[in-house]
């Protein structure tokens, strides 16, 4: 899975994080190192969709939190993916 929007949502599902924390977390759990431009492109889009929102902070490192609609979207996407994964694995087993 390399869709940056899903990776960001998956990262925020654990708790609020700022940009650099998200970058490290994604690298840890998905093995994907997002570039700064790609990461903030995804954050921009997710915020515009209403799936994440910034948490008020005085620091330049502004944290983001996942919204309920973002959580729903992530759940829906992951369910679809897991269905694909289960089917694929089952077929590999019987092949």
């Amino acid at each position: 899975m390399s869709d940056p929007t899903l990776l960001v949502l998956a990262s925020l599902a654990e708790g609020d994080k700022h940009g650099y924390a998200m970058m490290l977390d994604i690298e840890t759990f998905a093995g994907v190192k997002l570039g700064p431009g790609t990461l903030y492109g995804a954050i921009t889009r997710l915020e515009q969709q209403g799936w994440i929102r910034p948490v008020s902070s005085t620091d330049r490192r502004r944290p983001y939190t996942i919204t309920p609609s973002g959580r729903g979207y992530l759940q829906e996407q992951l369910a679809g993916l897991s269905q694909v994964v289960r089917t694929g694995l089952a077929r590999l087993k019987h092949a």
Partner: protein, 471 residues
């Protein structure tokens, strides 16, 4: 590298930077910036720039950039000046008897005859090498004289001008123009050409018919001297370029079939365009170094003045006979079909030459008019071969259709006047800066249309309307 990364942030729209700039700056401070991060910021910044903002804004910006580039480019190109002279040829008062003696010889034909002589290779070579003019000195040092002659011919134009003639006379006028980077030289060259016209006029009035062969029944005239092929006849250069582009696309398709995942699969459109352009570039380089198997065509137009249509096939059969063609093939000055002669018998090479050589009737005006064309990979040899074939036609005409008395129609007596002396150009005729700037503007607007179409294809990760971000 961090400084470069921060500079890349300028690629992002101002509204986006106002909202996310500080955060991105803090991220770069924490994570550091390597070359990959810089490239990522550059790519996403461009995508953001092209995927936000209105089409109108983009068109204005790119149109303005194109306008500036076009105008700037026009100032980099050297100025060229065009000098012009107007000449008039008037028929002398003709008595009734004379009119019947010289039927149908129009003044325009007379001008064409003069132009052919004045713009002939030998005449132009004389002008180019005139030490008083010093034309094309750089080109003469680096190019064969045939190429320089073609260049001066390309920069010289003769246009007919409608003028009323006097009572009992006919008149026809024409402009001769020459374009050159040096305005004084342009004027002097036109003067030299006008002198050539006057000299030819004087000579032809003294000696109306000049022919190498005595007393042929019909005079073989060269209406158009053998052309020097500057562009290949086949395959067409544009088609070869297109083939190069299509080969690149095909290669991209094959790579896509083999590599079903990864960068090629994700960015197939981009890969196809890059490989297509690479194919185009490879063909362009091969073209530049004359590696491609081009064939060049030289054409000459001949007229058998006073002859009849039946004579042309007889002459053609003689000129294209095996004996005649084998002489041309074995001519040590031409060196035709060297490779083929090593492996094939002469008879086969003659058949090959017959396929490359053609004689075709194209009209009839005071005698049959016909074209002689020859296709060959070497453009100089193509030209020289057509000249050799023309000589063979002259020789055959004199040998096969001899006549005891010459029945050559003399040209109508005429007077050549210079109506306008060669002008000294003040303003450059090229480059046309306004046109170039407008062309640049047009290209910019066209690019904005292409980008607008591409936006829907790219679907970048940062495709977000900024008003929504700000809202």
């Amino acid at each position: 590298m961090t400084r470069l990364a921060k500079w890349m942030m300028r690629l992002y729209p101002a509204a986006w930077r106002a909202r996310y700039g500080d955060e991105l700056d803090a991220l770069l401070a924490d994570s550091g910036a390597d070359a990959r991060a810089v490239a990522d910021l550059f790519r996403r910044g461009l995508q953001m720039r092209f995927s936000t903002g209105s089409f109108l804004k983009l068109a204005v910006v790119l149109g303005g950039v194109g306008l500036l580039l076009g105008a700037g480019l026009s100032f980099l190109l050297p100025n060229e000046f065009t000098s012009k002279a107007t000449l008039q040829i008037t028929s002398a008062p003709i008595s009734e008897g004379m009119t019947q003696a010289y039927p149908g010889f129009s003044l325009n034909e007379r001008i064409q005859q003069m132009v052919m002589v004045v713009l002939s290779r030998s005449s132009l070579y004389g002008i180019i090498t005139d030490p008083a003019l010093q034309l094309y000195s750089d080109e003469r040092g680096s190019k064969p004289s045939e190429d320089v002659i073609e260049e001066i011919r390309g920069n010289t134009h003769v246009d007919f001008v409608a003028l009323p003639g006097g009572r009992g006379r006919r008149a026809s006028a024409f402009n001769i123009t020459f374009t050159y980077p040096d305005r004084v030289k342009a004027q002097r060259t036109v003067s030299a050409m006008v002198d050539s016209f006057e000299r030819f006029q004087q000579l032809s009035q003294q000696r109306p018919v000049i022919t190498r062969w005595n007393n042929p029944a019909a005079i073989l005239e060269v209406r158009d001297a053998a052309s020097f092929p500057s562009a290949p006849f086949y395959p067409k250069r544009a088609i070869v370029m297109l083939c190069g582009f299509l080969a690149g696309l095909l290669l991209a398709g094959l790579v896509r079939l083999v590599l079903r995942t990864g960068f090629v699969a994700r960015r197939f459109f981009l890969v196809a365009i890059v490989l297509g352009l690479t194919g185009l570039a490879v063909v362009a380089v091969a073209d530049r170094f004359d590696v491609l198997p081009y064939h060049y065509r030289s054409v000459a137009t001949l007229r058998l003045r006073g002859g009849n249509a039946g004579q042309v096939p007889v002459l053609t059969a003689d000129v294209l006979s095996r004996t005649s063609l084998s002489t041309v093939i074995n001519d040590p000055r031409l060196q035709l079909y060297r490779e083929q002669l090593r492996t094939l018998p002469l008879e086969d090479v003659i058949q090959m030459m017959k396929k490359d050589l053609s004689v075709k009737r194209v009209g009839n005006m005071q005698g049959p008019i016909f074209n002689v064309t020859f296709d060959y990979p070497d453009r100089y040899k193509a030209l020289m071969t057509v000249n050799a074939i023309m000589n063979d036609f002259e020789e055959a005409n004199s040998r096969l259709f001899p006549s005891a008395s010459a029945t050559v129609p003399l040209p109508t007596p005429s007077v050549l006047e210079v109506l306008d002396q060669p002008s000294l150009p003040v303003t450059p005729s090229s480059p046309d800066r306004v046109k170039m700037a407008l062309a640049g503007c047009f290209c910019g607007i066209a690019a904005s249309v292409v980008i607008a179409i591409m936006r829907n294809r790219w679907k970048p990760q940062t495709n977000v309307p900024l008003d929504a971000v700000n809202g």
